[in-house]
């Protein structure tokens, strides 16, 4: 098997000087695929994602992007390397307009961003209508679209989403998943953490079940959906 | 160096600074025991203020920048308690002023009650406005008349309501009334602290700072302008004192004889006697307050206080009423500042509102607490002594620096002219730099909290 596009390889570490939360955990995403991380509360799903993004101390294992070791880089430098990250909370500039949010997303770029912005508006048409409205005034689902749109503005080579559907209604959640699939179809690999394991597994090409900071199960979304053990413990039978 | 050895050294060092001031005129020291004692007395008062602020900041993390106001209120209490009532003032308008104040308070209480009863809406807003505006005009009408009456009484000498000293003409014989005034000063400050705390505690930490900054300015504006109360900028002088008067001592043959046997002339002996008397009184108060503060903080209440400071969210989750606890300690700390303020007016023998400067009475106390060690009562007291010494000595030090740096320069040189004023400005600069250095390199202060 060739090296995946982005891989956090046997990562062990925790926040600051605190105890280790991850213990030899591996997550990866291939080009053109959606990889999801699921697991029970406190399993370290978000932590694993943040480790890949450089937001915690990984003292053994490595993170590689397109074959390059980026373990020592800061999150900001990883953004420059082509990683887009959408945090779970506080992921928009609430007091700024939708368009300004997108502009800020492209802050590191010095070239013309109009085209990218156009692409984002095509992906999320509602944002075009609300482009001059303060992002903080939008509905939960629309805000998540702004957040994803902002991350897309850097033209990332890989997009990481931390629980994009947290706190939105089931209908909005379905729509968000559709959008995420659309983003993936544009060729951007997506790595995401999801609380709603069943829906996430349905759209996942690759899925990781984490338990207490280690990999419990790995496989395609369909495989894990079919796995009786996974069904029993995470999907309610 | 063990911890207690370090502390012993620090205490001896600071004590040494005061001894040097009293005994040698080398370098910047004056070599006058009188000046050393004066410095000590003010240091004792400052230490009490620092103790009060340390309760608020060190033990509860409350940021009070209105110390000056509480200190000034204490000073007002000294006047209102230890001075004799102005003859005829009550009849001329005193009752009317009191009635006015009661009406003012009643307006506020009534408004609060009405607001509590009425449902929110336009009607309530209207009722509030009508009550407040109507109450205000009524209050002014009653109050102003009274003020006029009082201020008309012999304005060159009085024009104020006076105090509660029942000695009349011989009020100075009742010097102990001054000591009674000290705790009353604490009560005054506590009342003001209650009002501020009720409003600003529980909001973001810097709002309390700004609110206290404001109340201090207002308290001072009241003391400066309400002549009927405090004679304003005309000052109240001749406050009674709890220690004997120098002149009486000098006229006492027993005392002069005793002084002679010590080898002192009566003049020097009497000033030293008076100052030592104050020192002893203040020391008793300081030790008592320190003891109480220590007792309080090792009690369950004190432990809870520190638990709240260290983790407010956790304490709140455990069902502690953080705001109520903060209010308690804020009132206590402010009261201590009020006591110190009353003491200061007593030792000065006069209330001079224009001498209250925030840099001297608010920010200097902060430097004391931070240098001494926030969270440690002994540290705050030590900081009080050390920083007061510095505050006084910086001026001669500045002059010395000015002398050294401008030696050989033409006195009309720009730099020389600027440097000649340097002593006075040096205080602010030094205090600021000391504060910044301690915050940066030793944020826990000289005597850190254990």
């Amino acid at each position: 098997m060739s090296e995946p596009f982005l891989i956090g390889d046997t990562m062990t570490g925790g926040y600051g000087k605190g105890p280790d939360i991850l213990h030899g955990c591996t997550i990866a995403v291939e080009k053109g695929e959606i990889a999801v991380i699921v697991g029970p509360n406190g399993a370290g799903k978000s932590t694993a994602m943040k480790a890949v993004f450089g937001m915690l101390n990984v003292h053994s294992g490595s993170v590689r992007l397109d074959g390059e070791d980026i373990t020592a880089l800061s999150p900001q430098d990883r953004v420059i390397k082509g990683m887009g990250f959408v945090p779970q909370v506080r992921n928009i500039f609430g007091s700024m307009t939708v368009e300004e949010n997108l502009e800020m997303g492209a802050f590191i770029r010095n070239d013309d961003i109009k085209q990218t912005m156009e692409q984002v508006y095509e992906l999320f048409p509602i944002l075009r209508d609300k482009r001059n409205q303060a992002a903080g005034e939008l509905s939960g689902g629309q805000r998540q679209q702004v957040a994803v749109g902002r991350a897309l503005m850097t033209q990332p080579k890989v997009l990481m989403l931390d629980e994009p559907t947290a706190g939105v209604s089931p209908i909005v959640m379905d729509e968000l998943f559709d959008r995420i699939i659309e983003v993936a179809r544009t060729g951007i690999p997506i790595l995401m953490v999801e609380q709603n394991a069943r829906q996430a597994l349905e759209i996942a090409d690759k899925a990781y079940v984490l338990v207490q900071g280690t990999n419990a199960h790995t496989g395609t979304g369909k495989e894990l959906l079919a796995n009786p053990e996974v069904r029993a413990s995470f999907l309610g039978g | 160096m063990s911890f207690s050895l370090r502390n012993t050294f620090l205490v001896l060092f600071v004590a040494g600074l005061y001894v040097l001031e009293g005994t040698t005129d080398f370098w910047i020291f004056s070599g006058s025991p009188d000046s050393a004692l004066k410095m000590l007395n003010f240091a004792l008062i400052s230490a009490i203020m620092a103790l009060g602020v340390n309760l608020q900041w060190g033990f509860a993390g409350l940021f009070n920048v209105g110390i000056m106001g509480f200190v000034a209120l204490g000073g007002l209490a000294a006047v209102l308690i230890s001075m004799p009532p102005t003859e005829g003032a009550m009849a001329a308008g005193g009752w009317r002023v009191l009635l006015g104040l009661v009406m003012g308070a009643a307006t506020i209480v009534l408004t609060v009650l009405v607001r509590a009863k009425m449902p929110a809406g336009t009607a309530r807003v209207l009722a509030t406005i009508i009550l407040l505006v109507g109450g205000f005009f009524l209050f002014r009408w009653v109050f102003d008349g009274g003020v006029e009456g009082i201020e008309a009484i012999n304005p060159a000498l009085f024009g104020n309501i006076g105090g509660l000293n029942f000695g009349g003409e011989n009020y100075k014989d009742y010097g102990w009334m001054a000591i009674v005034a000290w705790p009353v000063g604490g009560l005054f400050a506590a009342a003001a602290a209650w009002v501020i705390g009720k409003t600003a505690l529980g909001l973001r930490s810097d709002y309390l700072a700004i609110a206290t900054l404001g109340i201090a300015e207002i308290i001072l504006a009241v003391i400066k302008n309400e002549d009927w109360l405090s004679r304003g900028v005309k000052n109240v002088t001749g406050l009674p004192r709890p220690v004997p008067y120098e002149i009486d001592l000098q006229n006492d043959p027993g005392f002069t004889e005793k002084a002679a046997s010590w080898g002192l002339d009566p003049m020097t002996a009497s000033t030293l006697y008076v100052k030592i008397g104050y020192s002893l009184l203040f020391t008793v108060f300081l030790i008592a307050l320190l003891w109480l503060a220590q007792r309080a903080l090792s009690s369950p209440w004190g432990r809870m206080m520190r638990a709240i400071r260290d983790n407010e969210t956790a304490a709140e989750a455990m069902g502690k009423d953080v705001t109520a606890r903060h209010l308690q300690i804020f009132i206590l700390g402010s009261a201590i500042c009020g006591i110190a303020g009353a003491m200061m007016v007593t030792i000065d023998g006069q209330l001079t509102p224009t001498t209250y400067q925030p840099l001297r009475f608010t920010f200097l106390i902060w430097v004391m607490v931070i240098v001494g060690g926030s969270g440690n009562n002994f540290g705050a007291v030590l900081g009080g002594f050390l920083v007061w010494w510095l505050w006084v000595m910086v001026e001669p030090l500045g002059l010395w620096i000015a002398d050294v740096t401008t030696a050989g320069l033409d006195p009309t040189n720009w730099f020389a002219i600027r440097m000649s004023e340097f002593g006075a400005h040096m205080r602010l600069l030094t205090m600021g730099i000391v504060m910044l250095l301690v915050l940066r390199f030793s944020p826990r202060g000289l005597m850190p909290e254990k």
Partner: protein, 336 residues
């Protein structure tokens, strides 16, 4: 009843001075609010920053005057203002370098930064006193009035005069320019937007590749410009005295909080609210009322709600009311 004279008296004693004072407070409050928005603390050294910038401006004004340079009817201080801003910028950037940067790296709690700013206040206060002394300095030159009360009376034939001081006019004009520039910068330029983004959501701004140190640098530069401008305008209108500038801290904080701290529009609204409240409450209304009331109802007192000595009480009272009923301020605060 004479409404026209009443109106003129009102304009002369309340509206014109209130506008000028409001503009000064608003620019001061903008500085406080910018620091709060980006650096997240209430800067107690702001009054002394204003004093420092003004002191440098005064020094340059004197220098220009000694060279015989003047702006004709306008005060020379306007010419010296850029130099004052530059001096002030050097001071605040130096302070940030030596003092604040350390605490930023430590992610110190806001209250620690407030205490640190107290120390900075001491030092700046000492520097200002060293540079220019403690005296009251009047440095306004040029034409004193655009229109004096007497000219106005002659022109209109009214009993009441309306005097407009040059400095009042300049204050309002400069304030409008400053505000327009600031809003253009914050809303239209990339750097300005990145500052708003940083103020709104620091973590996300970092993720977007916004350089925090650059944002901080630009903020201090703007603060230096705002503080110096506010200080110079106030000094021209009244006079310069180091201690007065410290005392301005209270109305300026009140303006920023009343408007919603961190919100520039709020700072401006707050500045005018506080200024007009102060002026109307401490103004003796007798004159205006005698014109509008029927003779029988004419007031016998001064009809002054509070003596001018209590002007701080006004800002304070408004501050308390806002804190009690709407702690986020009239406009929603918290971010620029």
């Amino acid at each position: 009843m004479d409404y026209l004279n009443a109106l003129v008296a009102l304009a002369n004693f309340v509206i014109v001075p209130g506008l000028a004072y409001g503009a000064q407070l608003a620019i001061g409050a903008l500085g406080v609010t910018m620091i709060y928005g980006v650096l997240r603390f209430s800067n107690f050294a702001h009054g002394d920053t204003m004093a420092f910038g003004t002191a440098i401006t005064i020094l340059f004004t004197w220098l220009f005057q000694s060279w015989g340079i003047s702006l004709g009817p306008l005060p020379t201080a306007l010419l010296a203002l850029p130099f004052g801003i530059a001096g002030c910028a050097l001071l605040v950037l130096g302070t940030d370098r030596v003092v604040y940067k350390f605490y930023r790296a430590q992610k110190a709690k806001p209250v620690i930064l407030v205490i640190v700013s107290l120390g900075v206040m001491f030092v700046m206060n000492g520097i200002v006193r060293f540079v220019i002394g403690v005296r009251d300095i009047n440095f306004a030159d040029g034409e004193r009035f655009i229109i004096s009360a007497r000219d106005f009376k002659e022109m209109t034939g009214l009993d009441e005069g309306l005097a407009i001081k040059t400095t009042q006019m300049i204050t309002v004009v400069v304030a409008i320019i400053v505000m327009a520039l600031l809003f253009y910068f914050l809303n239209k330029t990339r750097t300005g937007k990145s500052m708003r983004a940083f103020s709104d959501n620091e973590d996300l701004a970092l993720l977007s590749g916004i350089n925090p140190e650059r944002v901080v640098l630009v903020t201090w530069l703007i603060v230096a410009a705002l503080a110096t401008t506010a200080g110079v305008l106030y000094g021209l209108d009244k006079s310069f005295k180091a201690f007065t500038y410290f005392q301005l801290l209270l109305p300026i904080f009140a303006s920023a909080i009343v408007g919603g701290i961190g919100n520039p529009v709020g700072a401006i609204a707050g500045g005018f609210t506080i200024a007009f409240a102060e002026v109307t409450i401490t103004y003796a209304w007798k004159k205006v009322l005698t014109y509008v009331m029927p003779e029988s109802l004419e007031p016998d007192g001064l009809v002054q709600l509070l003596s001018t000595d209590y002007k701080f009480a006004v800002s304070f009272a408004i501050l308390i009311i806002v804190l009690l009923f709407k702690p986020t301020g009239l406009f929603k605060g918290q971010s620029i």
